[in-house]
Symmetry: C2
Amino acid sequence: MKAVGLVTEYNPFHNGHIYHIQQAKAVTGADVVIAVMSGNFVQRGEPALFDKWTRTQAALANGVDLVIELPTFYAVQPSHLFAEGAIKLLTALGVEDVVFGSEHATVDFLNLAKQAPSVQGGKAFQEKNQTFAQAYATQLESETGFKLEDPNDILAFGYAKAILNLNSPIKLHAIQRVAAGYHDQSFTDDQTIASASSIRLALHKGKLEKVKGVVPNQTLVDISSANHTVDFESQFWPLLKYRLMTDTIGQLGQVYQMAEGLEHRLAAVALGEPGPQSYQSFIKAVKSKRYTFARIQRTLLYTLLNVKVDQMQAAMQDPYLRILGFTDKGQAYLNGAKKTTTLPLISKVDQHLAKANLRLDFKAGKLWQLLAREPGQQQDIARQPIHFTQAHTKEDK
Amino acid sequence: MKAVGLVTEYNPFHNGHIYHIQQAKAVTGADVVIAVMSGNFVQRGEPALFDKWTRTQAALANGVDLVIELPTFYAVQPSHLFAEGAIKLLTALGVEDVVFGSEHATVDFLNLAKQAPSVQGGKAFQEKNQTFAQAYATQLESETGFKLEDPNDILAFGYAKAILNLNSPIKLHAIQRVAAGYHDQSFTDDQTIASASSIRLALHKGKLEKVKGVVPNQTLVDISSANHTVDFESQFWPLLKYRLMTDTIGQLGQVYQMAEGLEHRLAAVALGEPGPQSYQSFIKAVKSKRYTFARIQRTLLYTLLNVKVDQMQAAMQDPYLRILGFTDKGQAYLNGAKKTTTLPLISKVDQHLAKANLRLDFKAGKLWQLLAREPGQQQDIARQPIHFTQAHTKEDK
């Protein structure tokens, strides 16, 4: 069986994702669609709108055959590490092709990656008033003429770099992003595809009617069940404030990605009087030109999760393939992959795993439940992968 | 000027405290009444109902001349350390007499303390199914014939032991507890004095009318302002659960008074599914016969405050006299005491002190604000001691 891989967050699952799945099959002629998906927290350091099981269910109901969790230590990372983690898992599963959306689908990203500057080189890295990504893009443009600035292009570049680094046989296929830019914050009533961020914004504002045209019906059902994190900030901020006011500067300084004395600023702002009244105003108060919003938010999430540098480095050395769900076809593919994969396949998490390799995902699941309006089912211990069958689909309708 | 010392929590300030102040003056003929008072957290490991400034105001309005904060590292402790901390501060202030309520006011507690067994001795300490305090009381009874079991007697015994340990010149004066036992959970409409715990219970149930007869009017005004912690458990439990789910067992094991592997039980219960739904059910699930309710609750508070054994031991080596408020008479007494006291007198807390000696009180104040229905004013930085004058009193009426 030939498998095509997708790197996804499905936050939430929407019509654009259905188009992506259809195109992936059409472009590659694959029999099986495998999605590597962020778990309960997404790349920008936020809880996913719905938990990983709900999003797995949506993916399986709409054409994906196998959903593998991108572990938290890969998912909540800058794009190059996010991309490398995903490519590593897909390579281990024997996937031959990866199809992704891009703002510049005609660009040969693998070729671009081959010409890319090494991270340390170039004078652009001296500038203080820009983020690392901006500095890197400036350097890349001066050497190749291509301006790497759109989010899907940046991810595509990350996949290409990862393929080179890992010596992976995966072939990349870009499809042109249509209708909705990643950062578009609004959409019209006659659109059938909208960006995930604009959908989240509409849901946050309670505009369910507006969202109807751009998501499968199940997403509307899920949002009405209250087991979601649309309003997570009202829970996130008191917990973060509590953490910042009780940990020592020394403890905060050990948090993953806490760099350049950022811990001092975080503590000073959190403990100030009257102090920020919301998560958004806190981030505004601590943000500098050196960091992107997402970078700050990821660091704050790692602060909240109490993840230290050494724990993170150890975890990243030890990846695994956590199976969240499959169709019959996905199961058949898995049976073949079992014999060849070099990474451990995990279908059930017990107390031992929750304290060892999967500790970070386990903590993330517990935190997700705490941030959701209703905690719902536990996320890891004793949960079985979803086996999605056509009968099941009918039952759901 | 002759000063009498009172060891207090004023949680909340009630008519029994007025009686205590009057008796203290009558028994000793003192000119000045000095109260050492728990700060924002009380001995049983709970946030005080009102913050330390509100309670200081009530004390000054009702006959106390000087209020000194009992630092958190003394206040939130078993009774012998609580008592020793208070006696240490009162001794440093040149206080000659301490007057306290007792269930057995005719007992000579100093004499009892002289006959007391040393902590290590005796076979009663071998029993596993009792608390340390029970074991000690059993041993004491077998040697002296006196059954030390009532809470105010236990504190009195603590004062006496402290006087011996510190070689303090303080003389103890017991007054018989009247009308309300420490643990009485109810009171009748014709009572004018009720126990603090029964008053807290009535306030928790929203029975303001019932409380009118046993507290000064100001307490009723304070409860209506929402800057109080009557419902603290609904805030306390999610924060504690969050702490237990994100810290490692190693980190939890370093918390002050975390003994005999208790951290494993706390984490296992907190992370279990479905898990306790409230703070009370959590405590019930983790409590054993080896620990009193108060002991468990103090340990949980130190867990929430993230206070480690070494930090606590260092803090206890370095006590101070934090001035919360005074009358003119109290101020005059302070001016004299300044010249002779061996402990630092602190009237204003800046960022430096908040990060050094007073760090624990500072954190406790921040946590108190987080647990209160409305956070109110900040508790430490730049707060001035209350200077209470008669004009001020009139203004308040």
